[in-house]
């Protein structure tokens, strides 16, 4: 009995506060949130009703939500691919003995020290003012009007800035992976007559599989959840054309006061992120074993 008491005491002293904080901040709101998706709470009235699956059925007819959701998938697809391509390229170049490579690493990493709001404003100025000025004076029609003024270009501006921001982060992880590859393995392959391309695809890439797993996971998760950058760079505009799902959920709940519907949308986001990241991790781990 006394050992049971001392065990409990130990658990409460060591784990009590963090578990309470974890439960009350993450788990309780998460479960309560699932309940909210079945209600028509508007955020103001104390009373609200249980309305079953109506919110979810409503989502199927909500064209704005569907657009935002599809746009997010498109955005995630392009940012994840470009971020990882560029990050790997930079990491590869910056581990090949270029002069001043440690300075370049720091430069590419810098955007990750700064919040998305600030980065968004910086690029807003670049797209609105600096590039159009350059475009008009050099006669480059592609940039002579602000990219943020037309839906299609605003989308690519968002992709571009996201890739710009995260490439340096993923680059650091790829560099760590590249540096840890045993040099004698590469030398042995070269002695056996492998060219640089063969070394890259047959030796370096397979050994880098764990880094790819991590970077894909991180970039997937981050781009699904992006909000700050979206808000500061395009504010979802022009005409809601760049409103990613995070911002859509925020606006639905906190601006339109449809908390129940907003939460149902947030829950759909959760399910999507969970399924996609789990599939990605499963496939990557499988690839790691096979290689």
């Amino acid at each position: 009995m006394s050992s049971y008491f001392s065990k409990t005491k130990l658990f409460v002293v060591f784990c009590g506060i963090s578990i309470i904080a974890f439960l009350t901040v993450v788990i309780v709101p998460f479960i309560y949130g699932i309940y909210l998706t079945f209600t028509n709470w508007d955020g103001i009235h104390k009373k609200y009703e249980f309305i079953g699956f109506s919110n979810y059925i409503g989502l199927l007819k909500d064209q704005v939500f569907k657009n935002s959701f599809l746009l997010t998938l498109k955005y995630v697809f392009f940012t994840v691919i470009f971020t990882n391509l560029i990050a790997f390229l930079l990491a590869y170049l910056l581990t090949s003995g270029i002069k001043g490579q440690s300075i370049f690493r720091v430069i590419f990493f810098t955007p990750n020290l700064i919040g998305g709001i600030i980065l968004g404003f910086i690029w807003q100025f670049i797209f609105h003012n600096a590039l159009p000025y350059l475009g008009r004076h050099l006669g480059i029609s592609l940039i002579s009007e602000s990219w943020l003024a037309t839906p299609e270009k605003a989308f690519w501006a968002l992709v571009l800035v996201t890739v710009w921001q995260y490439s340096g982060y993923m680059m650091m992880i790829y560099i760590a992976g590249l540096v840890s590859i045993p040099q004698d393995l590469i030398e042995a392959a070269i002695i056996d007559g492998a060219n640089k391309f063969k070394v890259l695809t047959k030796i370096i890439m397979p050994l880098m599989a764990p880094s790819f797993t991590v970077c894909l996971f991180l970039s997937l998760q981050r781009s699904f959840m992006v909000y700050d950058l979206n808000l500061a760079l395009t504010k979802g505009g022009p005409f809601k054309s760049t409103e990613l799902v995070s911002m859509h959920v925020y606006n639905e709940a906190f601006l339109s006061q449809n908390y129940g519907i907003g939460q149902a949308k947030a829950f759909v986001l959760f399910i999507t992120v969970a399924i996609i990241t789990l599939i990605q991790v499963y496939l990557s781990k499988k690839a790691e074993v096979e290689l």
Binding site: K7, L10, F11, F14, C15, I17, S18, I19, F22, V25, V26, V28, P29, F30, G33, L36, L93, I98, K99, V106, I107, F108, T110, P111, N112, L113, I114, G115, I117, I118, F121, W123, F125, N129, A130, Y133, L134, W164, M172, I173, V214, C215, F217, L218, Q221, F224, M225, Y227, D228, L231, S246, V249, Y250, Y259, G262, A266, F267, L269, F270, V273
Partner: protein, 278 residues
């Protein structure tokens, strides 16, 4: 052999050029902001790429005053430091018990925490605001700090847990035999050994909390409680057309981070890499 060397050096020049072009893409946006932060608005509109004719340093004083810079800086500092301190203290203790005691309750909570890491913030923010709003706990810096503890715990426990498993038991057992309590053994013997994880955690959490926008924007309502990200956001929204001033505000927010990170460079890179191993 000679021809081969020439091919190699052409390749090296090419690589260097690619890197140079990429890096200008990273430096120029910041440089353009700095240049324009010293200009009058008219000058910015006329040519956003030219150097300022005269340095209008008053932009900085005005921006600092209007965005309540020092107050927000102080708020951000307190929130970041306090949140990280409690995350480190309580998560390391929790992870220690999770790693050392094979109780079933530990396994249950550890798996819940590991699984919770895929929950996006957006899918808990609405109920979070509702619950803490009904408890009258919004617009309070300490509620925000408590929430950072809640959101930061799972990852921190996970990170510590992996490291503690690799520490041999002998040291703490010796201390326990000598009559130390588990609490003393943890703080005197184990915690100092966790230093590499603690630095990693401090770096990652500092980047997260200092730059966070969405959570504080939901919790902190009154202007004097705003963090730097919030006050920059509201200031920029109001003064978008006053370019010189807006650019000065951005520089004011970015500059301290750059300076601190230059000193911490080594730790930041190590932190990112170590934190990425999940």
């Amino acid at each position: 052999m000679k021809g081969n060397l020439r091919v190699r050096s052409i390749f090296d020049v090419l690589k260097f050029l690619i890197i140079l072009i990429f890096s200008s893409f990273y430096i120029l946006p910041f440089a353009i902001v700095v240049i324009n932060s010293f200009k009058k608005t008219g000058e910015v509109v006329l040519n956003p790429l030219a150097l300022p004719k005269e340095f209008k340093i008053s932009n900085y004083f005005e921006a600092a005053e209007r965005m309540n810079y020092f107050r927000s800086f102080f708020n951000t500092f307190v929130i970041t430091v306090a949140s990280i301190a409690i995350i480190v203290i309580f998560s390391s203790m929790t992870a220690y018990i999770f790693a050392r005691k094979k109780w079933s309750i530990n396994k249950i909570f550890f798996s819940i925490m590991a699984a919770s890491m895929i929950i996006p913030f957006q899918s808990v923010m609405i109920p979070l605001v509702k619950i803490y709003g009904s408890l009258n706990m919004l617009n309070n810096m300490w509620s925000l700090i408590y929430m950072y503890l809640g959101f930061g715990t799972a990852f921190a426990v996970f990170l510590y847990h992996g490291f503690i498993k690799s520490i041999p038991l002998e040291l703490e057992e010796a201390a326990l035999v000598d009559g130390a309590t588990t609490f003393q053994a943890f703080w005197k013997i184990v915690f100092p050994l966790l230093k590499p994880v603690t630095t990693t955690l401090i770096i990652l959490d500092a980047l997260w909390i200092w730059n966070d926008f969405l959570l504080p924007s939901l919790i902190l309502i009154s202007a004097e409680k705003r963090t730097l990200q919030l006050s920059t956001f509201y200031f920029y929204g109001t003064f978008t057309s006053n370019y010189g001033l807006a650019m000065a505000a951005l520089v004011l927010t970015v500059f301290p981070i750059i300076v601190v990170s230059l000193f911490m460079q080594k730790y930041i890179i190590a932190g990112i890499v170590r934190g990425a191993i999940r």
